[in-house]
């Protein structure tokens, strides 16, 4: 019974690693579409009013796109017990990169561009709230390890990464919704703005509850 479940676990882990690698690659490809730097490329094609009327939008957008790709890197290393046990310095270094990137670059820029989000007030609130929570959870996560509370650290960092992972889930929901219902693009956007991160948080809360509050 025990070996069987651990075998199932390790299969699950490998599926997760493979899926995460594929999505990480896709996210990198999306990021690379913005290079060479161009004010009229990809998503920015429908953001020309902001580009021309909000001077900071363009640079903040680029900060968000470039920095956020690095935060996803944490998904490869930070939740691996093997790395944590055998190479704690790798965990610490990548963790530091993650924390600084999130609190100095990705989250603040996300809140800022969230204010100009497509789809009106519905999606603006969602993206700004997402950015604020991401910032807070990450701060809490680093605070907990500073005071030595490792399990609280793990819990907050899981929540933080669940939000970072919304970059992938919101795009995945989009593909699913468009495939199933062919809705107009902004209707999709308003839905995925929320669908991208709320279920992630619920799942991670369920996982945390299962793991710690037995």
């Amino acid at each position: 019974m025990v070996p069987q479940s651990s075998k199932a676990n390790s299969i699950l882990k490998w599926i997760w690693r493979l899926a995460f690698s594929i999505f990480f690659y896709l996210m990198l490809a999306i990021t690379l579409r913005y290079f060479p730097i161009n004010p009229d490329v990809a998503f920015l094609q429908i953001k020309q009013s902001e580009i021309s009327s909000v001077p900071a939008y363009f640079s903040v957008f680029y900060i968000h796109v470039c920095s956020s790709a690095f935060t996803l890197l944490a998904g490869f290393t930070q939740f691996s017990n093997t790395i944590l046990r055998k190479h704690p310095s790798i965990h610490k270094r990548i963790g530091i990169v993650y924390v600084y990137t999130v609190i100095l670059l990705s989250a603040p820029s996300g809140i800022y561009i969230g204010y100009f989000a497509n789809g009106g007030i519905t999606s603006k609130i969602s993206f700004m709230l997402l950015g604020i929570l991401w910032f807070l959870f990450t701060i809490l996560g680093i605070r907990m390890i500073k005071i030595g509370r490792t399990s609280a650290h793990e819990q907050w960092m899981l929540r933080s990464f669940a939000l970072a992972f919304s970059a992938i889930t919101l795009r995945l929901w989009k593909v699913i919704l468009v495939f199933l219902f062919h809705p107009p693009p902004m209707d999709v956007y308003r839905i995925i703005a929320w669908l991208g991160w709320i279920p992630n948080l619920l799942i991670i809360e369920w996982y945390i509850a299962k793991k710690y509050k037995k």
């Binding site: 896709l26 490809a29 999306i30 579409r33 009229d40 990809a42 998503f43 094609q45 429908i46 953001k47 020309q48 009013s49 497509n118 789809g119 795009r171 995945l172 989009k174 593909v175 468009v178 495939f179 062919h182 107009p184 693009p185 902004m186 209707d187 956007y189």
Partner: protein, 288 residues
């Protein structure tokens, strides 16, 4: 003195002759350039229906045609045929007002799809047929019954309520339906435009990004092409013609209307194009 009398006599004779015989020698030439039936001048518009065609080819049975008559004399007729993105000069003859099939007009012959138009005009209807010169093309004969319709640019014109604006040419095949026996079969999904194509006017309003963001590619394309349709552009793509040919006010008059577009329209076209490209690249893909 005698000489003077002769001269005077001669002048008198000449002038007398002039008075008595008015213009007979020049009559024929004047008649040749005399324009006939100017009331028939202008655009005759209607369906151009396939009659003889290759059964194995996927053809467009009906296109909207405009036969525009420019000049009719006893010797020649000058006209233009505008259909399916093709504007061709026509020249030929008009036999006589009472004979049957009195117009025979040919296209120059240097285009694969050139042919000969034979028609007559009775009352308010121009009817006849067209046969291709080249017999190795999918449609070799088409017939038509056209009525006079004058083209006029009106920026206020909008697509009518009655159209369903479904793209019949580019279905997406999806294996979805499951019958009771557990069989699956392919179901064609057709793109349908939204209400916006009847409400957003790219000829009278400066379009804004905000107003276009919720539109699908098909909406953006139709809104942009409606600008061209108002100018009488003849569409080369059948996937575009399907939306405009049935529109009552639409009269194809030209292959190139770029010079007729207003500055407002040009700006809107650029914006719409950008959104079309974005929609094409991003609507159903992973990313945004």
């Amino acid at each position: 003195m005698k000489k003077i009398i002769y001269v005077l006599l001669a002048i008198a004779l000449v002038s007398c002759r002039k008075d008595k015989q008015p213009v007979t020698p020049t009559v024929t030439t004047i008649d040749n350039v005399e324009e006939l039936h100017t009331e028939w001048y202008g655009s005759w518009v209607g369906d151009f229906e396939a009659e003889e065609y290759d059964q194995n080819k996927d053809i467009v049975y009906v296109n909207k045609i405009n036969i525009s008559i420019k000049k009719i004399t006893y010797n020649d007729v000058i006209a233009q045929s505008i259909v399916a993105g093709n504007s061709r000069p026509l020249s030929g003859s008009f036999s006589s007002p009472d004979a049957d099939g009195n117009f025979v007009l040919t296209e120059p012959g240097d285009n694969k799809y050139d042919g000969t138009f034979t028609f007559k005009i009775k009352g308010d209807t121009l009817s006849g047929s067209w046969t291709s010169i080249n017999k190795n093309i999918p449609v070799t004969k088409r017939t038509f019954k056209l009525v006079k319709k004058q083209f006029a640019y009106d920026p206020e014109l909008m697509l009518p309520e009655e159209g369903d604006y479904v793209d019949r040419y580019n279905p997406k095949m999806e294996k979805t339906e499951v019958t009771e026996d557990g069989e699956t079969y392919n179901e064609a999904l057709f793109r349908q435009a939204s209400e916006s194509v009847r409400t957003i006017n790219g000829s009278t309003t400066a379009l804004k990004e905000e107003g276009l963001k919720n539109l699908k590619k098909i909406d953006l394309e139709i809104i942009r092409n409606t600008i061209f349709a108002r100018h009488g552009y003849t569409f080369k793509k059948k996937s575009v013609r399907q939306f405009f040919d049935p529109v009552e006010w639409y009269v194809p008059v030209s292959e190139d209307v770029s010079g007729d577009l207003t500055d407002l329209e040009k700006k809107n076209i650029v914006l719409l194009k950008r959104f079309e490209k974005y929609a094409e690249d991003n609507y159903d893909s992973f990313g945004r």
